[in-house]
Amino acid sequence: MTNKTFNIIITGVGGQGIITLLSIINEAAFVEGYDVKSSELHGLSQRGGSVKSYIRFGKNVHSPLFSFGKADLVLSLETTEALRALVYKNPKTIFVVNENFIFFDKDISKDFITKKLNDLVKKNLYLVSASETCKKELSNEVVSSIYLLGYCIFKGIIPLKPESVEKAIEKIIPLKYLELNKKAFNLAKKI
């Protein structure tokens, strides 16, 4: 059990399943006996706009938000949104980013964003082709967020046990999609 509070920013574009991801991490941390708090946004901000959520777990968590430079992990479902979260970065912050670029402005290109991420986050950047892998292996892109979560858990980036996360998935995900989500989660074990 870590003594220090673990701070995660989850970013992406509205509709990418951020709230589900957040609920699972919350539940898993709770299962392990941590105090946990998170903050999410609904409504207008979810309609295809930038979405940024906070999760924190540790011994004793007060605010659901944390300051700039205080993230242990930026978990992003989209590359541009990962770059937007740079203010939360300190020299140790890990960036796990889905190699998925969602166009929105003619002046912002995929290559520009990827280059900036590489230049600025350097060795702490893990660009993961989650969307592509999930499309190929599971014929479903929506679960790429769960695949990314699996990546963070099996690589030890998020200090939670795989069993706790699986338990959380079973609690949060409706039965109908459960198998698919578990597959996506465990798919990340192989890399």
Partner: protein
């Protein structure tokens, strides 16, 4: 007690059920919508009645009826809802309640999901004289809603639970009582006539005001003793104290931890009435006090008044070191404390994003029927056409690539303003150059408050073109039932109100109901209706793309 991870809104639902709520009404708005959504799902299971009302005023009035008939009620709405229902809220404070009533009023500092204004609804305490409780987190949402019902029953007053986005949508493990399904110890509803209490006719109304003001002082005595107003932290020798409430209290504790300071903090659970004596006692020996609150400086002003009487030397800080715009966070509070205490802060300001990225604004969903409508309106409208906007998914009309929105106000306001614009243009003698006016509104908003504006437009003879986008549901707030759907908030079948029949009954002669994927028909109708001397209406009826997808997936399951 067991613990369960809940968002603030779920904790409000559970706390209400444990308090024995019988009757729940509301109007969906972010960040409060999940309260009604949840009741829609579970009401029957717990023997509770739930409705999505047509607007917040009617929602409150329904609950008043329930309270007068002896049922405990909960009303939920977003900040602006309190403006809509205020006309009935003020007399309710005068009459008081019969059975307990709590009103959830959810503000959205930083306007994450709000057009209109950055409203700090705590100000309604002064206008209405209704007690206001402010929880900081989901646990307090649960505890305070229970307390709210308790106070309401004890003092026969409605109680407002004032939340903010970061409380409604905060998640944490919450200790909850065991909730038993089924109708628990409900009393049968009975309306016992009592016009002395329920009618606010003069001269009785002024007597009622006197009773209300006396009641508030009794509640203040209760608040003075309440444990919801608590002092944490130490180091009194610092001669510096902090007063905070709601989510700001949590940021404050976080900020003090980051700064390594152990300062006394008075956390206020009540915003109104305030525990004046407790505040006086807290600030009595300080040299400096910092009041930490989001948006408007209500508390700061109150503390300054108290300070004047008790300790005129104390310096009270607030909006001079904290922003009046936008939500607060740990950084902003650290900077404020550092400024007062003249501390050197090393790191905090160096965090700036080296890459400038333009904003990714909200956009229409894939397959949204509005993709068929906005481009046609934009193309067909003659140069100089004025576009009225309204609240809901259709307000995305104001963003690129559409850019067809010249004003956006409150629910249903688009047509009211469009009438005023058109009426003004009609005063010009040159008819040839007269600008056209096209106003857009969604089905939910039309039912909420668009109808009076339409009646006014017909009655006072102006001729804008109103385009009603009927996507068969209240979509933006997460798919809630409205009167056009033939289904209530509890999922029961009901009369399906037809917009085309309503507008005809309002006296509109030029009415066209169409499916907007028929581009040619939409185009021709817009062209034709823009030449009319009376108001005309096009109803673009096509289901929300997300709803259609969900319905199909549901059918697939069956």
């Amino acid at each position: 007690m067991k613990k369960e991870i809940l968002i603030g809104n779920e904790a409000i639902v559970k706390g209400s059920i444990v308090s024995g709520v019988d009757f729940v009404s509301g109007y969906p708005g972010c960040p409060a919508a999940e309260i009604g959504d949840e009741f829609g799902k579970i009401a029957k299971q717990f023997g509770v009645y739930f409705e999505w009302s047509v607007n917040e005023k009617v929602a409150l009035e329904s609950a008043i009826g329930a309270s007068f008939s002896g049922l405990k009620s909960l009303v939920n709405m977003k900040s602006f809802g309190i403006n809509v229902c205020s006309d009935s809220l003020f007399p309710l404070a005068y009459t008081g309640t019969k059975a307990g009533m709590v009103i959830v009023m959810a503000d959205d500092p930083s306007c994450h999901s709000s057009a209109q204004s950055e409203q700090d609804s705590r100000g309604y305490a002064y206008l209405s004289h209704i007690p206001i409780l402010e929880p900081s987190d989901p646990q307090e949402c649960y505890d305070f809603i229970k307390l709210g019902f308790e106070i309401s029953e004890k003092f026969k007053t409605p109680v407002i639970l004032r939340t903010t986005t970061r409380v409604n949508h905060q998640r944490m493990p919450v200790a909850i009582d065991e909730i038993i399904e089924g109708k628990n110890n409900k009393i049968t509803a009975k309306f016992i006539k009592n016009p002395h209490q329920f009618c606010t006719m003069p001269p009785r109304v002024l007597e009622m005001k006197k009773e209300l003001l006396e009641k508030i002082e009794q509640i203040r005595d209760y608040v003075e003793k309440s444990k919801t107003n608590k002092i944490t932290g130490h180091l009194i020798s610092q001669k510096f104290g902090i007063i905070a409430s709601g989510i700001d209290y949590l940021h404050t504790i976080e900020a003090l931890e980051e700064l390594g300071l152990d300062l006394p903090v008075l956390k206020l659970g009540f915003f109104y009435p305030l525990p004046n004596k407790k505040i006086a006692k807290f600030i009595k020996d300080f040299k400096q006090v910092l009041v930490i609150e989001e948006v408007d400086p209500y508390l700061e002003k109150e503390v300054k008044i108290i300070a004047k009487e008790i300790n005129s030397k104390v310096q009270v800080f607030g909006k001079d070191v904290l922003p009046e715009i936008g939500e607060l966070n740990t950084e902003k509070i650290i900077l404020a404390i550092a400024k007062i205490k003249k501390l050197k802060i090393k790191n905090i300001l160096k965090f700036k994003n080296p890459v400038k990225i333009p904003r990714r604004t909200a956009r229409l969903c894939e397959g949204c029927p509005y993709w068929h409508i906005f481009p046609i309106i934009k193309r067909i409208a003659p140069e100089g056409t004025v576009f009225g906007g309204d609240i809901g998914c259709n307000m995305i009309a104001g963003l690129a690539p559409h850019n067809i929105q010249d004003y956006l106000f409150s629910m249903g306001a688009g047509l009211g303003i469009s009438h005023g614009v058109k009426k003004s243009l009609q005063q010009n003698s040159d008819k040839k150059t007269e600008q056209k006016v096209i106003s857009i509104i969604g089905d939910g908003t039309f039912f909420h408050s668009g109808i009076p504006a339409l009646v006014n437009t017909v009655f006072n003879k102006s001729n804008p073109l109103l385009i009603i986008l009927d996507n068969r549901i209240t979509a933006m707030t997460g798919h809630q039932q409205n009167p056009g759907m033939g289904q209530t908030g509890m999922g029961e079948p009901t009369e399906e109100l037809k917009i085309e029949e309503i507008v005809r009954a309002c006296g509109v002669k030029n009415v066209k109901l169409l499916d907007p994927i028929n581009a040619k028909e939409l185009e021709d109708t817009i062209k034709e209706f823009l030449t009319k001397d009376e108001v005309s209406i096009i109803i673009c009826k096509r289901i929300c793309a997300l709803l259609e997808k969900r319905q199909k997936s549901k059918q697939h399951d069956q």
